[in-house]
Subunit: 208 residues, 2 copies
Amino acid sequence: MGVTATEAANPVGTLDFYFFIGSTYTYLSVHRASALAAAAGVRLNWRPYSLRTILREQDNSPFLGKPDKLRYMWRDIERRAARGGIPFAGPAPYPTDPESRASHVATLAEAEGWCEPYVREVFRTWFLDKVDPGSPQVLAGILARVGQPADVLQRAESPEVAARYAAHTVAARARGVFGSPSFVTADGEVFWGDDRLEEALEWVGSGR
Amino acid sequence: MGVTATEAANPVGTLDFYFFIGSTYTYLSVHRASALAAAAGVRLNWRPYSLRTILREQDNSPFLGKPDKLRYMWRDIERRAARGGIPFAGPAPYPTDPESRASHVATLAEAEGWCEPYVREVFRTWFLDKVDPGSPQVLAGILARVGQPADVLQRAESPEVAARYAAHTVAARARGVFGSPSFVTADGEVFWGDDRLEEALEWVGSGR
């Protein structure tokens, strides 16, 4: 997986990376964020949350029912992946993970310290194998590939994990997050979108 | 107003700049686009169109009824204006130009060759004087400041201008435009957002 930002010895600051498994642009950030944060000396906190809940509350449907925007989104991701040297194989299944299983596992992983390798494999599976990562069968394969035991699937459906996922969602909402990826600084600045990652890191690095 | 890209002697290509008076992020592009296009040797075609019509058709309300997104938008523009050395004086009246008068004048201006200085003055008035540029009184002042006669206001409400504005909107829709600013290349690539301007210019310059 390479060096992760959380291993930085003396970080200049921290950045909370609020992400949702199901957000397409998040694929780009899952690929880029750790290396860029490490290079900037910024510690990155991976925070799975339910963007689906917030979008419903805010009557915000970014792509569904909007075919022109949907088509543009896939083309834009294709171009930005090409610019960034990120593998891309065309549109992936969308929407995905309807029962939020993959997100619940991400929350357990975040509590236990293996969030990043798991989420990277989830997005790789979704985008490059082009299968919905949320089915129990696909999730079992993902967990095996990142060296986690099969009982994770059951533990991820516990009330404790659900409460943790809900708490992240409450925190995201309170901080003004309404999209994924969102990068939130310690002083409360929100940067929405993979294309704002560099600005977020600069903000933290400049000590503002 | 500085050198405009349309004066480039041997442009490497052209870029259609679809914009709507009423789109807040468009302020940044109105400030930046000509100089960047000129530096890239790209001819910029200013194309006023009715984004309002397209948003209504697509049930797409980017900010109204979405207070968190609206607040983020103003903060994001503030930060990006600061990064780009663009004057900014806080949130401007929004929405604006409800009767599309300022857009009709932009369409007449585009037909007659004075679109850019007019639109720059419209956005300056809207963002820095913080008044709705669409009222006849405010428009009269804008026209005076860019050296246009007062009868423009009347001529801009002609059926011919309305037809030209509608034709630009039809063309924008056909090309997949659903937001402002949008930059469309001769080979049909759409780049949506001020933050995609550089990528659009690179696309044209690379001859793809």
